[in-house]
């Protein structure tokens, strides 16, 4: 069960916060994913590092599959979001996210992360409250730990 390997100290941000506040919390806590919660503490979605950085990525990133031939990004390197962009509500970058219940099996959790390319998986209780978060390494190592119980094939 994912409950046994999750971190219970989970940072979240209210849906009324700004993008600037979300970025500050992500930097302060050195985390990759921030669940966004409503007044009741129930998650309404997530904001990831990548969602914040998409404000800086050049437009050609979306349009060109291959840009290996560009050895210097030039003016793009100094792209910074405008003050107006940073003071917009964090909900403008909100992603629906995938939340699993505490009772979720480890392999299901792992498979979901691989399929949806997630690095962290927020975990909710039966009544929908945010209770923890588990990284891909947390879940993978928890699965690998069970290999200790497999007896050796050579006597």
């Amino acid at each position: 069960m994912i409950k046994n390997c999750m971190k219970t100290k989970v940072f979240s941000i209210p849906s009324t916060a700004t993008i600037r506040q979300a970025a500050a919390l992500i930097v302060e806590r050195h985390i990759g994913l921030l669940p966004v919660v409503d007044e009741q503490g129930k998650p309404v979605g997530i904001v990831r590092l990548g969602d914040l950085l998409s404000l800086e990525l050049p437009d050609f990133f979306k349009l060109l599959p291959d840009f290996d031939f560009v050895h210097d990004f030039g003016a793009v390197e100094t792209n910074r979001p405008s003050p107006e962009e940073l003071d917009r509500p964090v909900t403008t970058l909100l992603q629906p996210g995938i939340f699993v219940e505490e009772t979720c099996g480890l392999l299901r959790a792992y498979a979901l992360m691989i399929r949806h390319n997630l690095h962290d998986l927020p975990i909710i209780s039966k009544d929908g409250a945010l209770v923890g978060i588990a990284s891909r390494v947390d879940i993978s190592t928890a699965i690998l730990t069970t290999w200790n119980t497999i007896p050796s094939s050579t006597p």
Binding site: P58, D59, F60, L63, D66, V70
Partner: protein
Amino acid sequence: MIIQVATSLIFITSLWLIFSEKLNRTITGLLGAVLMIGLGKLLHFYDEAHAVAAVDFNTLGLLLGMMILVALLEPTGFFQFLAVWAGRVSRGRPVVLLVLLGTVTTVVSMFLDNVTTVVLIAPVTILICEILGVNPTPYLMTEALLSDTGGVSTLVGDPPNVLIASAAGFSFNDFLTHALPIVVVAWLSAMWLLRYLFRRELAVRPPNADVVLKLNPRESLDDPKTARRVLIVLCAAILFFFLEEPLELSPAFIALSAAAIALVWVRPEINEVLRRIEWSVLVFFGALFVMVGGLDASGVLGGLVTLLEKLYAIPPVLFGLVLLWFSAGLSAFVDNVPITIAMIPVLQGLEAHGVNVQPLWWALAFGAGFGGNGTIIGSTANIVVANISERTRTPITSKLWNKRGLPVMLATCLVASVLYLLLYPLFTH
């Protein structure tokens, strides 16, 4: 009378559906075509055999052949290579970059499909502008406007030209002697005007212009071997287009032969190549032929011919100019392909009544070609560039197009009108 009203209604409703974007143009075309045949069978004026005869297979064959060549060239990175090369050679000087990107896009779209050219060059243009730290809008609009303008100069440059050439029996060389000189002047005027209209944006010197010198065009070419093979075949095809008359070969035969040879030489995964063919365009053309065939069989176009014949009392040169501006005005708002396909039987009808329609064909080519520059929806290249820009921080709006594109359309049509007037004797034979 009922037949004429009903067929006109089908045709006008289809044009309205396409114009208002209520229904995709290919779906509309198919629906219109089957309605036309259904009505024809019911009232005994048009049937399946007539419909098949109405399809111009020379146009479809030429388009298919050229589409296969483009589909082979597309994944090689050749278009990307050209844009990166233009960026490097410009050394980050805005006006030089504008002229080079505009020229490259024009030259390529004189021989290959405008839309593919623009679709593949626009993202690299955005890249060059972003690393230079300049607004890509002037460059993107220039590419769309100049590729449409340049496309008028050759038989294979623009679908209306393919249609006109096939209907009027014009050869590749006819376009080089009649259309190219006018297009060169119109193109230069358009370039000069764009340089003026975007003078404010182009006055900004990029702070680190040297960054484009670090771009390596060779690295941006993914598959040089295939690109070389397809380009050799393409050049050979163009050579044969020149010799089309003495060798008595149709453009469709040349294009399809080139496609077959290129396919044998490159030996690609054929399903992947066929997936890149714009079948919707071919089906749309086919359906329009069938629809206009029904319109013709019902006698609507004949009636229009009789009406136009009376108007032909006015000097023929004036008639040509009216046709040029009429088709340009329509093409600014509606796809120029249905307009051209609808005009063809009318001009052929006039010819059957003994009118010299040669100058009218050229007027139609200039009007339908240059007219598309007028609005953001005037040509597919415009629509595609606008769609790409919508995914960036600097979207091109319809209002902006009216400010920058419309003057270009008016200028090119004006240049074409003046030259048409001056060189009128050239167009009469």
